[in-house]
Symmetry: C2
Subunit: 449 residues, 2 copies
């Protein structure tokens, strides 16, 4: 592999430049900004690397970017990524423009740099290195890069049910992974599912003077009371049937959670986040178990009435909350929405509308799938230490939509770091991690081939 | 009075023009916009009418606009108004610019047109008519026009305790009043007090990916749970001692409430607001009793995390709520804030910060004060019908700060109408009401003199 690694080292600046170019193209799926443009740019960048890429239309959504490159061996590896990114607000907390892709102190700052344009470009760079240095790939590779991951991949499942050949492979490298607070690489074998909903309560047909509060229904109060029925201060979700079928960790998984806990530096994480304690005072393996195996109900946004400085005495006409439920095996997203609606009806909040954005089911790959060992051993070689293998991650992706129909194993690995701030302001990657990540993928291609 | 009324009729266009000019000067106290400019403009407009107006500095706030004009009789009438206005959002629900003061179909649309620049200008016009037509006033008049009413008059009480001569008089005409849905003038003898507070909960030191929801405290949830302890779906405020000393209506007041209820068209109000029912299904005298005699706890604003379109999976770093409590005799604003803080501590939400903006105590004038009869009889003569006398109003003003130290009686009357939309988008007055209101004040000056 020395020839490949040398190529990667000597072309580092070009790979960084490629990534800056991709990051400078906004592609915010929640706001429909720049998606087609980003897909076209990406196809052009792939073609420039000798990869026969193309867009594939998606009914009702931005196109997929796909490519198939034959390899020497009989196996095919699917690489799943997404070119869309999260919205950028709160904009005033960014040090540089989210789409400037500015480099400071060895880090590249951009919305999408860690999640997940950095991974897209690292994987393309690894393929480029193989093609340029050896003229061929040791394994067949398929790229599947979508543009709606950050809004829950609403069209991916249907598209892949109609065109399964876009995803069919022997194993899948999933979109992301990161070094933890001790700089140990974490790889993961599954994702939580998600139900992202917006609840909206309505009152009078216009905002009123707040002196009307004694006689006019207030949608902000109704929303607060309805929310308080969803989860209490004990952090238990109160929707009947919410926990039905939730899989607890097996003894083997629990042992792995203990190993993970022993290697984590929770105190460093806690201090870095400025927290007095973690939720419910969790520590050690219990903290890890909650993180990976417990479903959640999180308020992502509250909106009603006046939010400016000082006071405005207004009785708002409407109030809304954005909520995400992260789901674990064997919860099903569709069922959770149905239970939520039924719960609100039963609690006499049937007037509150529930809009669902992007439902995704959870997915998990078994520990003993061959790709797991390949990714872990290649990581040990490139990073100089054994990675931590997470049985699943706390976040979500359309792994069920991509891999579920084939029962295809998937492993997530990537170039992130503990302060990469995905979805927040000043999202960034370290350039050294980026180059290391390219080598990791290059080695995985050989080992899986 | 024919000579005066003729003057008012023939100068109607000029009075409307004066009001447009005042409305076109933004003066938003919550945002510190345009206050000094508005005070200067107002002084100039008053001087142009022959009124010896001046500004009086206020420590920590925008100036007062004051004037004293001697009259024939021994009595002095104080006219209280405010030149500040509410913020304009939601801006996209306005048909014309809030500061364009556009006239459409006999109405003038502007932020502050009804609340309360229209009343300022009507009262100035009435004084102008007396001075121009008769060369004198029948009663001494003091103007006291402040610039912080919409944020709870935070400096007025202290200013008037130091300089009581600015307010001392035999009676006070308060800032506003309006015709109801049946076009009957409502005058009122008191105001509710207010406690406007902002509650803020904090979590991690930055917004996080919402997948952290299983282990990281969420300030939006803490805020929701804390709010749910303040008031329940039964609309009862749960802060211990909140209702201590609350004065129920006397039998005489209850009889007045019955009379008021008999003259209201609650169905028209309900339909106009697009409501299925009023709060708790209230109707008739009970609806009026709640409106005027019950204290409230109203959420005016909720803010946390993402409020844009679609979904953003973020765990917010902070969450806040703006809440107003409207108070009735014998609640005291300072005590309510203290009880709120103590309640949050006891319910284990002591980490939630409470910021208080503008505390004001309630105030009520007795039915048998001479000014009440003067205003009511003058109204009957000008409007052609007896006004409805409300023992108090549901809204707030610094009546206690202005009148409390002298025990001075105060009556609110004004040029508003039922669809004037104070504090909301498309605030407006009807020009015919404006001219009628000028005549009403002109007649009050004579009768009280």
């Amino acid at each position: 592999m020395d020839d490949l690694f040398r190529y990667i080292d000597t072309h580092g600046d070009a790979f960084i430049h490629d990534l800056q170019r991709l990051c400078r193209q906004p592609s915010i799926s929640a706001q429909g900004v720049g998606l087609e443009e980003c897909a076209s740019l990406l196809v052009a960048q792939m073609q420039a690397k000798g990869i026969p890429a193309r867009t594939e239309p998606v009914r009702g959504g931005p196109p997929l970017v796909v490519a198939e490159i034959p390899g020497d061996g009989p196996r095919t590896l699917l690489i799943y990524d997404h070119y869309d990114v999260q919205p950028v607000d709160p904009l005033d907390e960014w040090t540089s423009d989210p789409f400037a892709a500015e480099i400071r102190d060895g880090c590249l700052y951009a919305r999408g740099s860690q999640d997940t344009k950095g991974n897209i470009m690292a994987r393309l760079a690894a393929v480029e290195a193989w093609l340029r240095v050896r003229g061929r790939l040791p394994v067949g590779v398929k790229f599947l890069i979508e543009g709606e991951e950050e809004i829950g991949s609403p069209h991916l499942g249907e598209t892949l049910r109609e065109r399964p050949e876009l995803a069919r492979a022997d194993a899948c490298i999933w979109e992301s992974g990161a070094k933890d607070h001790r700089d140990t690489l974490n790889i993961y074998l599954g994702v939580k599912g998600i139900c992202y909903v917006e609840l909206e309560a309505s009152g009078a047909n216009r905002d009123l003077h707040s002196s009307a509060g004694a006689t006019i229904p207030n949608p902000a109060w109704r929303l607060v009371w309805a929310l308080a029925t969803l989860k209490g201060p004990d952090e238990q979700v109160r929707i009947p049937g919410f926990y039905d079928g939730v899989a607890e960790p097996s003894p083997a998984e629990m042992a792995q959670l203990e190993r993970i806990a022993a290697q984590r530096d929770d105190e460093a994480i806690r201090r870095d986040l400025g927290l007095r304690v973690f939720l419910k005072g969790l520590t050690g393996a219990e903290l890890v178990r909650h993180h990976l195996f417990r479903p959640t109900c999180t308020i992502c946004g509250l909106t009603a009435g006046y939010s400016g400085p000082g006071s405005k005495t207004v009785l708002p006409r409407r109030a809304s909350a954005k909520i995400d439920f992260r789901l674990v095996p064997n919860q099903r997203a569709e069922e959770i929405v149905a239970k939520l609606r039924e719960h609100l009806r039963r609690e006499a909040y049937g007037d509150i509308t529930v809009r669902a954005f992007g439902l995704e089911d959870p997915y998990k790959t078994p520990f003993d799938a061959p790709i797991v060992e390949v990714v872990a051993e290649a990581a040990e070689e490139v990073y100089g230490h054994a990675p931590i293998i997470l049985p699943t991650m706390a976040a979500t992706g359309p792994m069920h939509a991509v891999c579920g129909q084939f029962g295809m194993p998937a492993v997530g690995t990537g170039i992130g770091h503990a302060k990469g701030n995905s979805h927040g302001p000043n999202e960034n990657i370290r350039l050294a991690d980026y180059i290391q990540g390219i080598k990791h993928i290059a080695l995985i291609l050989e080992r899986f081939g």
